[in-house]
Subunit: 475 residues, 2 copies
């Protein structure tokens, strides 16, 4: 095991004590104190509220300065106008990390908001020791230490870190990933960033042993060059997915209004992605899909895909979708086609690539067992994409759950023996029964380590971007 990194931010994710300044007495259900208790944060929790002596069974203190022991981390849940005084109190107390949850600063666009933010920033800079997160942000989610900003987040610790300029997007990603069986080491919603900014967290996460994959949501940068060099160093060790929002005129206007960010030109960001090799994503679903591809797929050695599934027309459309995403669906070598013809009874059924398995998912089961090894051996393709068009059943087949389960079981069993990277696209219509059958199959497949996407479009985008990353960062 490598020696633990000495980055001082490491203790920010594992503080020994947390003070909640402005601990709520009225809504302990959704309060910061209750979140830490519910999430089994193991350190000391100090509620700070001049009007209370006890909150949620814990002794409350009128000020952070009145806490008897040391306070390592403080969360501000107070009106914006009170934050400068409380920041000064924290410095006096020797607090090391402050998370200003409070909003109402520069993001409001008002002079008063900007003035208060500048004042807060000055206090932190003058001190030079304390590190501040925010204001106007959700802060830290770190399941290993029990820190969270949402008690519905999973307790499971994973290998993915997310650095986000948007609180809502960080919630969306955690839940989207959870449904795929993917978990996080650290999530940071960093807001207006008077002190700690995206590049600080990237630098920390580069050497963080708990993190293997990093994703970022960025609207605008305050310190572009530091971000670029942080990303570059990070990419030498770990894949980084970047959703840069505001790359269109419409999006840039929206970003200016959301976080007062200067979105930057598309040309500049195109150059950024080209020069750094960061993996670009356009939507949060795509971020989750790419993370899943990275975490679950064997590294693709190229961008040629073998497409396997039911339905000739579905295969033609799938081939078009793959090529539009930057992949190719080339014909198998004749030897592969001849071997496939032996196990697919109908003459003329697709064996060229895409492979059209026989009608029904029963035929799929048989093909997974006997056909996938043949496809796996074909020398013209690098990746196997299996699609299951559950929607063809329209939710009306009474034994749909059994059929889908059998197909998923057969794929899970065979997947262990394949050499090539494998991905599955399960597409469903909107019928509740097919959706539930797909959810069950998805959980089976992801538990077996197979990445599952909601369709060929989502799958091909993620595969293409991951393959580009692998080809650029070989080794």
């Amino acid at each position: 095991m490598p020696a633990k990194t000495a980055n001082p931010l490491d203790r920010m994710f594992h503080p020994e004590s947390i003070a909640i300044v402005g601990a709520s007495t009225s809504n302990p259900e959704g309060s910061w104190v209750r979140r830490l208790i519910d999430f089994k944060y193991a350190g000391q929790i100090y509620p700070i509220n001049p009007k209370a002596t006890e909150i949620d069974g814990l002794k409350a203190y009128p000020s952070v300065r009145d806490v008897p022991g040391p306070v390592e981390y403080a969360i501000f849940n107070i009106p914006a106008r009170l934050t400068p005084q409380i920041m000064t109190d924290c410095i006096a107390k020797g607090v090391k990390y402050v998370h200003v949850f409070t909003a109402g600063f520069s993001e409001t666009g008002t002079e008063e908001g900007k003035r208060m933010e500048a004042q807060l920033k000055q206090i932190v800079e003058d001190d030079g020791g304390l590190r501040a997160l925010g204001p106007n942000c959700m802060g830290i989610y770190c399941p290993a230490s029990g820190m969270t900003f949402n008690t519905d987040f999973p307790r499971e610790q994973g290998k993915v870190a997310f650095v986000s300029q948007s609180g809502a997007e960080s919630m969306r990603l955690v839940f989207l990933a959870q449904d795929m069986g993917i978990y996080f080491s650290k999530v940071i919603s960093y807001g207006n960033a008077i002190d700690l900014d995206a590049h600080d967290f990237l630098e920390y996460l580069t050497d963080d042993d708990e993190t293997e994959i990093i994703a970022c949501y960025i609207e605008g940068l305050r310190q572009g060059p530091r971000f670029v060099s942080a990303i570059k160093r990070c990419l030498e060790k770990k894949p980084v997915v970047v959703l840069k929002a505001g790359l269109t005129e419409s999006g840039a206007g929206a970003a200016a209004s959301h976080t007062a960010s200067l979105a930057g030109s598309k040309a500049v960001w195109d150059a950024f992605f080209r020069q750094t090799g960061a993996i670009p994503a356009n939507t949060m679903d795509e971020v989750a899909d790419i993370i899943q591809a990275i975490q679950r797929m064997v590294r693709p050695q190229g961008k040629r895909v073998a497409v396997v599934g039911r339905g000739g027309g579905i295969g033609v459309i799938a081939a078009d979708i793959c090529e539009r995403a930057g992949l190719k669906v080339p014909a198998f070598v004749p030897e592969t086609q001849n071997k496939l013809l032996e196990i697919i009874p109908e003459a003329g059924a697709g064996v060229r690539n895409p492979v059209e398995t026989t009608y029904g998912l029963g035929g799929a089961v048989d093909f997974y067992r006997r056909g996938l090894p043949i496809v796996d051996d074909d020398p013209t393709t690098d990746v196997i994409l299996v699609h299951m068009a559950i929607d063809v059943y329209g939710g009306h087949t009474p034994d749909l759950p059994r059929i889908v389960t059998e197909a998923a079981d057969a794929l899970c069993e065979k997947a262990k023996t394949l050499k090539k990277p494998l991905a599955a696209a399960l597409f469903t219509g909107g019928h509740a029964d097919t959706i539930m059958a797909v959810v069950a199959a998805r959980d089976k497949l992801t538990n077996a380590g197979i990445p599952v996407f909601t369709g060929v479009e989502a799958a091909s985008r993620a595969i293409s971007k991951y393959a580009s990353y692998c080809l650029a960062h070989s080794g």
Copy 2:
């Protein structure tokens, strides 16, 4: 009401009698005879099978020539090698329409298959009276007359017609549309088209009073010029959505293998869409989405969208997605922004466009009631797109169904009063509870006539393509 068209194909969809040549005795559950009975086809059904005297309670005949009364329509469910003789029998009997379900012809790529198909084609041409559908196709679904190739299809009659070179894709579209509450007048899976081809059905549907919207799935054309002129004439009366599969190199190879189609170059098809004004779609989900936009939205007068929903970052990404789909998300006029500021309490919340409603779906309900009329009056936007990010809840909020239902109810209520076209994007993660909440909300909204899409990406593509069609075909 206009006079009924005299197109002779009309009777093909409403025949007075149907003979099933090769009526199955072994699997009546999935048989052609049982389908017609189950679907309440009201005409005479004649099972033809030399080895049976009765099938499914109906008298069976050894040959179509032995049927006592007239036979208007015949379905061939027999081995390919028998089809020439049976075709000759049908001509002798005076059958008007034949559907050759049987496969094993040119699509197999074998010389024998091509030879038999040429022979069948010659027999039909020599007769000059009988019209043939197929071979190698699913045939006709027409809920009004009780004809179907899948008994799980809905009995409801709708306004959409689908002309498809793929049987599986026609099943996918019917079920996808059903889940959106959209139904069909006629669906035709036409296969190898020795006689009746896509353009014949387009010409018929152009004047069909039961059809208001037409969609086509095409891999390749046998008679390009006739298809182009049929589409042009059709578009003078009705919108036509075309999914041309095989436009990429990968897809063209797949199409050659699937239906022996020459896919045609992308340049030729780009020119086709430019010259005809047909609405292009890339996936079957997109076909369904565009149909929904056409059927449910007031005609957009432009491509500028007002985006309304929870989450600042979600709004920025949504604006980017819209612009990438060919739409714009411009700033509202100051008057609109000022009015919105009055009802959105937080200073700095997005009122520029996208509109960031207050946190939670409770805030959404209030915004729908008080904010949507303000957005509706804004002069800089043509369409309102409301997004609900149900996935932010991660499926963990116990009263999620109630919250989502209240939001959907409020939107349904307010939608009636809006002048602008309205669309809703409901996006969910993969948690079963959020999915079910979204399905319930979707049904509520679509029942109220509001088009619902699975995300901003799907919504913006459909809106953009429908708006382009409306701008090109004003009136």
